[in-house]
Subunit: 245 residues, 2 copies
DNA sequence: CGGAAAGTTGAATGAAGTCAACGAGAGTGG
DNA sequence: CCACTCTCGTTGACTTCATTCAACTTTCCG
C-alpha cells in the first residue's frame, strides 16, 4: 500500500483536486511531484507534537487525524479533525501549537519545509489555494467555537454527526438531504468527547438518548445509521434553524 | 477625526507595520493608497451581517469590533475580537458567515473588493501577509476552542484578561510579565459573556470573586487593575501551566 | 432630576460532571 | 475452541458548577 502510493503520480492522486495542489497547472504539479514523499502513520501514532519543530509539511491522503491540545492537568480539547486533502503545518513557522495524532492509519503526502516554502513563493496557485483552505478552516473553527460555547450536549452530538455526513457528501459528491445514511465513525467515544468538549459518559448517554428517540441506530458502537436525516436536522440549532448548506 | 484620517497617507498610518499592508514595498503601498477609503462606524453599529454580500474588505484602524453568531433562539457566541490592524472580509468569497459589530467607535480602512482581489493576485507581499494573518487567526480561534470546551468560568475570565494584556503589550511593544497593569475593557459584561460562552451573571460573579481574592481591582466596571500579573498567570491553566509566551 | 441600561447579588434549578460498577468485543494464548 | 484479559463503551447514583429567575444597585444620558 505504502509502496504503491509512493509510485502514484499526482495525476492519479485521490486528493488531486481538493488538496493544496488543487489549482496547480501541469508545470507546478511536476515540481511538487519531484519533492513529495509518502509516509504512513499507524493508528494512534503521533504525527506532530505541540512546540516541536516540524521540517515537513503534508497533506492527508487517506485516514483521519486529530488536532488537539492537552492542559497541564490532563484536560483535553480537540480543535481540528483532519481528513483526506487537509493540510498539516504552517509555512513560515516551524513550530506547531497543537498535537496531531493519527485516529486511523494515516497516509501523508509530505514536502520538505524549505522546498515547499520556495514553491509557495514562486507558485501563486499554491499560495492562493493555501489561503482559501486556511480561511475555510477558520470558518470551521469558528462554527466549532459556537458549538462549544453555546450548544447543549444533545445538540453537539447531532452537529457532530451531521458534520460527518456533510464531509462525506462533499467527498463523494452525493448530496443527500434526506433518506437513510450509514456512518463509520473514525473516532472512539473518548475522541468524540474531546471533540465536543464533553465527558465520555455524557457523550455515551446522548448516543443512547438519540437511539431511544429513534433518530439513530447503532448496530455497533462505531457504526451509526441515520434512518432519516430530516429528523436529525431540525434539532441542530443552526443560526437559521434550517437544513445545512 | 474621520476627515483627518481620510487625508492620512499610508506612511503615517498607525497600523502600517501590522496590517495586511505590513510587507508592502513603496510601489504596492502606492496602489493601495489609491483605492483605500476611510469609514467610521459608531459604537453599536453593524459592520456586516452573516449571509449578506460584502463589497468592501477592510482593516481596523482604530476601535474594537466583534465577530459573532446568533442562533435562532437568541443564544449568541462571539468567535472573534477585531482590534487595530485586524482584517475584515474574505477575498474570493463575497458572503460572510458571521456578524461583525462595532464594540466601540471603529475606523476602517476600506478597499473595494474587486480592486483588492486584483492586488492580491499581482502583489505576493499582500497575499503572503494575509496568509500569515489568517494562520494567526486560526491559532487564536483554536485556543479559544480550548477555552470554551474545557476551562472553568474562573479560568475563562482570567484568560480573557490576560489575552487583553498580551494584545496591548504587542501593540505598545512593552512586555511586562509582572507588575501592575491597568486595562480599559472595550466590551460590556454582556459581550464578555458572549466571548467566554457564559451568562452575564456568571461573568459578573467571577469578576467579584477575583476582586475578593485580591487578584484584580475594579475602580469602574470597565476598568480593571491587575496589581500583579504573576498572581493571575498561575491560574490560567495553559498547557504548560507556565506564564504566557 | 428621572428613566433606562448596565451591572451586581441572591436563591433555586438543572445539565453535565464525577465516581463507580457493569457489559460487550477483540485479541491472546493454553 | 474456550477461557482469560484488556480495552472500550454503557449505565446508575450522586455532586457540582453554571444557569435561571428575580430583585436590587449603580451608572450613564437626555
Amino acid at each position: 500500500m505504502n509502496l504503491r502510493l509512493a509510485r502514484t503520480s499526482c495525476i492519479e492522486c485521490p486528493i488531486r483536486h481538493r488538496a493544496v495542489c488543487a489549482e496547480c497547472d501541469d508545470t507546478e504539479l511536476a515540481v511538487l511531484e519531484g519533492i513529495k514523499s509518502y509516509v504512513t502513520v499507524p493508528k494512534g501514532g503521533r504525527i506532530a507534537e505541540a512546540g516541536e519543530s516540524l521540517d515537513h509539511l503534508s497533506s492527508v491522503v487517506s485516514g483521519c487525524a486529530t488536532v488537539s491540545k492537552t492542559l497541564a492537568d490532563g484536560r483535553r480539547q480537540m480543535v481540528g479533525l483532519l481528513l483526506p486533502s487537509d493540510f498539516i503545518g504552517r509555512p513560515g513557522r516551524a513550530t506547531l501549537s497543537f498535537d496531531i495524532e493519527a485516529a486511523t492509519d494515516v497516509t501523508l503526502c509530505r514536502f520538505q519545509r524549505r522546498a515547499f516554502e520556495a514553491i509557495i513563493r514562486s507558485s501563486p496557485n499554491v499560495a492562493r489555494r493555501l489561503l482559501t483552505m486556511t480561511l475555510d478552516e477558520l470558518d470551521v473553527a469558528r462554527d466549532w467555537q459556537v458549538l462549544l460555547g453555546r450548544l447543549t450536549a444533545r445538540e453537539r452530538v447531532i452537529h457532530f454527526l451531521l458534520s460527518l455526513v456533510r464531509r462525506e457528501a462533499t467527498e463523494t459528491g452525493a448530496a443527500h438531504r434526506s433518506g437513510p445514511v450509514r456512518l463509520e465513525l473514525p473516532l472512539s467515544r473518548e475522541m468524540i468527547a474531546d471533540y465536543l468538549g464533553l465527558t465520555i459518559e455524557t457523550t455515551s448517554r446522548q448516543f443512547t438518548a438519540l437511539r431511544k428517540d429513534g433518530l439513530i441506530e447503532t448496530p455497533t458502537a462505531r457504526t451509526i445509521v441515520v434512518p432519516d436525516l430530516l429528523n436529525l436536522m431540525p434539532e441542530a440549532m443552526d443560526e437559521d434553524g434550517g437544513p445545512i448548506a
